[in-house]
Amino acid sequence: MAGFLLHLCLLLLFAPLLQGVITRTKALFAGRIGAPLLQPYFDLRRLWGKGFVLSRTTTWVFLAGPAVALTVPVLASLLLPFGGLPAPISFEGDLILFVYLFGLGRFFTALAALDTGSSFEGMGAAREVTFSCLAEPTILFSLIVLARISGGLSLNSLFGPHLAGAWGTGAAAPLGLILVCLFVVLLVENSRIPFDDPNTHLELTMIHEVMVLDHSGPALGMILYGASLKLMVLGALLVRLAFPWQTGHILGDVLVFLGGLLVLAILIGVVESTMARLRLVRVPQILIGTVLISIFALVLVLRST
């Protein structure tokens, strides 16, 4: 029970900070001082206090979108080890549930976008579902590689303590490859540059942000909060993969994990500052490329171990 609460507290309290760190990194790169690190918390508080503006076209589905988008990462995080902290809920095959939970979130977010009847949001929804169906095989292949290395089928054993040792063996190359793949998936799923731009709403190349154009007040707050939770949950996979050290002490494990997340946030900020957004036609090409890289990793791991 204590582990359960610690898990939830870490997720719910820490997640918006990552957005703050990314924004701050980008500001520093641009030569500005930037918003305070805690700005996302202030934003959420302000949005929660505001009223709604609802289009007369919308139905209850428009509000179900944010509700699901907030719920899904919370439940998904419970299946996931946070660094050295084991997942509160774990069973064989929970990795499939993990992937499909995000599918549910995407389903309702895209429906909420179509509910407004706006052509922009329809466009965003079409792009979102197209690109994520290309990202899905990459995730699956990466998880299969991890499952082969760990010999188990739960996320807890996939991201278990054996990873620290595995980096030193023949499994290092496939692990490195899927680290790259998962980083790309993280950028796509969290609508980051170079695949999407979380800051602009109007350019016609946008994906995720254009879907939430009509959300306002608490609904927008739920979506933003849900997005930061999603970043932390998917980031936790990468952090565990890249920093598999365990101190053996609960406080030390938490610190390694949170430190890893901060490094990841800075890295995302650096990528966003140094890269231009890709042309839209390039996005599927890169995603198919990562599928191929992850297949290559699978072949390597099947042959070597």
Partner: protein, 657 residues
């Protein structure tokens, strides 16, 4: 006693449409009697099945039949029961649905025909699923195939229905030919038309021929990818509740045939599993890609049947691979995933067809592009359709997720060990992920364009809600989907028993091992539902006082019209573009160019790659060639004909020793 009740059910179903024939065309008594008989028949059938599954139940019936080699022998085992339960649920629900959807007073010409063959096909399928004799099986198979034809051509005044019916008839009889050859060969090996006991057949020689004939014949009925040609047109042409029965239940008889046939073999060569797996992956991926490209809601749902048959076949392929490589976990997970997905598809596909029927009933059109905003006018239909859409995408907390999860588990269980052919089963997992992603895109499109946004055409703006007789069956099916999704452990014992029938070597494997995580899935599904309900309640309460008179933000544009919404073509364009090699989509319309562009339109049309691009042109070519040959051979000169006779005689002399 049990089998007697069961047979009473079959006879009641079989006869359910006949009283209506004796009544006047305009009378509504026939449809009430029909519904009552179907309900009663299904009830008898379910109780009979349950009783015969009980530990001391007698589940076999053997009657003599004055046909050489034939016997009227039936048996109910857990494997048959898995296929019988959805049938006994969907058939009566469809009958009730028909009261509102196809009432006799609105369809005096074909209402009676529809009900007559609806009852016959139901009874034929029950017989087929329990037959233990090859000739009885074929008899039931043909009865089912022919009544299917009459269901498809219910509206035989429409040319597309006639065309779909003819293609269906050609396809189903090609399949039947293969099945006749199959049972003839089987008789040659076993000595009688009685089904051999499980694990008694050798795989080599005639055994392999039997398997591949079965794969062709049963695959044709199931709609496996290159053989699916009849399916989209047929399911689109039939009335919606008949489509639900055809798509939700009838095509599963093909799966049943494959499952039953493979249970006969003692050992399975590795190549069979890999072939079945590959066919499943092709069906799944191309089926859903073709579905995205459709703009006719019923054709779209029909292509999703091809996709789901692909998913079921993936599970079957994993189980076959598991049998040939002696990995019981793969067998159990693969076959129970395939069987559960069969049940699930029967439930959610019927639900979706009922929903589509309600929409067509309300708007008078099957074209997605003309709809929109129906959720306001058809609240219950919308909710049920949304539930079905979540289920068919394999998303938690509904039933589709449970069966796909079992198949994933089967695929991943082939991981440990050294590299071997059995590890090809792994590829089912990413294929399923791609299928899942594409299905999600497709149902976002369908639900979003049909039920959300603004009505695109006048008919959609004037849509009327479905009557209670159509809402009730949808609600029942939605609850069934939710039940399997939220408490999947309740179906585990039946799956386990059916898997043991399929592969007796599984018997020592207990339920505790692989299906044991189903309660966990159920618990998480409940918590997901609860959390969403809490968050939804929270935001709904906050938004109660919000004014709802603003218009959707048009990025500064002040005169939006419903025509500016995304259409089915534009929504699918990105994905269809990715699959353009396999789909051969025709795109019509000019791109907009210049500062003062001319009026421009865009539309896309995706033909069926196999039927419209390969088979029909090939058939046309053969017809043309034959015509030319005939003119050359049959040229009217008597001397040529005498020459043919002489040549034939010489050839005969040369051939006969």
């Amino acid at each position: 006693m049990a089998i007697g009740l069961f047979m009473t059910g079959v006879l009641l179903m079989l006869g359910s449409g006949f009283p209506g024939l004796l009544m006047p065309r305009e009378s509504e008594g026939g449809e009430r009697i029909f519904v009552a008989l179907i309900l009663l028949g299904s009830l008898c059938g379910v109780v009979g099945t349950l009783l015969s599954l009980a530990p001391d139940g007698n589940a076999a019936l053997n009657l003599p039949w004055p046909l050489p080699g034939a016997a009227f022998s039936l048996a109910i085992d857990p494997l048959s029961a898995v296929f019988l339960f959805p049938l006994f649920l969907v058939a009566p629900l469809g009958a009730i649905y028909g009261l509102g959807y196809w009432p006799q007073r609105d369809h005096p010409n074909n209402g009676r025909q529809l009900r007559l063959f609806y009852g016959v096909i139901g009874a034929a399928m029950v017989l087929l699923l329990t037959a233990r004799n090859g000739l009885l099986f074929l008899f039931a198979w043909e009865a089912m195939a022919l009544s299917g034809f009459f269901l498809i051509t219910t509206e035989d005044n429409r040319s597309d229905a006639r065309r779909a019916g003819l293609i269906y008839l050609a396809a189903t009889h090609t399949g039947t030919l293969a099945l006749i050859a199959l049972f003839a060969l089987l008789e040659g090996i076993c000595g009688s038309f009685t089904f051999p006991p499980a694990a008694s057949l050798a795989a080599g020689g005639a055994g392999s021929a039997i398997f591949f004939l079965g794969l062709f014949g049963f695959g044709m009925k199931a709609g496996l990818m290159p053989l699916h040609i009849w399916l989209p047109g047929a399911h689109a042409a039939a009335p919606s509740h008949a489509s639900a029965l055809l798509s939700g239940v009838m095509i599963k008889t093909g799966i049943y045939g494959l499952v039953r046939l493979t249970s006969f073999y003692a050992a399975i060569p590795p190549s069979w599993g890999i072939i079945v797996l590959a066919l499943g992956a092709i069906s799944g991926i191309l089926g859903v890609a073709l579905a995205i490209a459709q703009h006719d809601i019923k054709r779209l749902l029909a292509y999703h049947s091809v996709e789901n048959i692909g998913i079921i076949t993936l599970g079957l392929g994993i189980a076959l691979i598991g049998r040939s490589s002696q990995q019981p976990m793969l067998v159990l997970l693969g076959i129970s995933g395939a069987l559960l997905h069969t049940v699930n598809h029967g439930l959610f596909k019927s639900l979706l067809f009922y929903g589509a029927g309600a929409v067509i009933h309300a708007t008078g059109s099957r074209q997605i592009d003309g709809m929109g905003g129906l959720l306001r006018r058809m609240k219950w239909t919308g909710i049920c359709f949304l539930g079905g859409a979540v289920a068919i995408c394999g998303l938690p907390p509904f039933n589709g997720f449970v069966s796909e999860w079992l198949i994933y588990q089967g695929a991943l269980h082939s991981l440990p060990g050294s590299v071997s052919a059995s590890q090809l089963a792994l590829l089912a997992a990413p294929a399923l992920a791609l299928i899942g992603g594409l299905a999600l895109a497709c149902f976002v499109k369908v639900f979003g364009l049909v039920f959300l946004g603004e009505p695109r055409q006048e008919a959609a703006a004037r849509a009327h809600p479905a009557p209670a007789s159509m809402r009730l069956p949808m609600l029942v099916l939605l609850l069934a989907c939710a039940w399997i999704g939220l408490s999947p452990w309740t179906v585990a014992p039946l799956l386990q028993r059916a898997a043991t029938v399929w592969s007796p070597s599984l018997a020592p494997l207990t339920l505790a091992a692989p299906l044991a995580h189903l309660p966990m899935i159920g618990a998480l599904a409940w918590s997901l539902l609860l959390l969403i309900a809490v968050a939804g309640f929270w935001i709904a309460r906050r938004s109660r006082k919000a004014p709802r008179d603003a218009s959707t933000w048009g990025c500064g544009y002040l005169a939006p019209t419903p025509r500016m919404q995304y259409s089915a073509s534009s929504f699918g364009d990105l994905i269809v573009g990715l699959f353009r090699v396999g789909l051969l989509t025709e795109r019509h319309g000019e791109p907009v160019a210049g500062p003062f562009p001319k009026p421009s339109t865009f539309s896309s049309h995706t033909p069926d790659a196999v039927l419209d691009r390969a088979l029909l042109p090939a058939a046309g070519g053969i017809a043309w060639l034959s015509n030319r040959l005939r003119r050359f051979i049959q040229n009217g000169h008597t001397s040529f004909y005498l020459l043919y006779v002489a040549l034939t005689l010489i050839v005969l002399f040369a051939l006969i020793p």
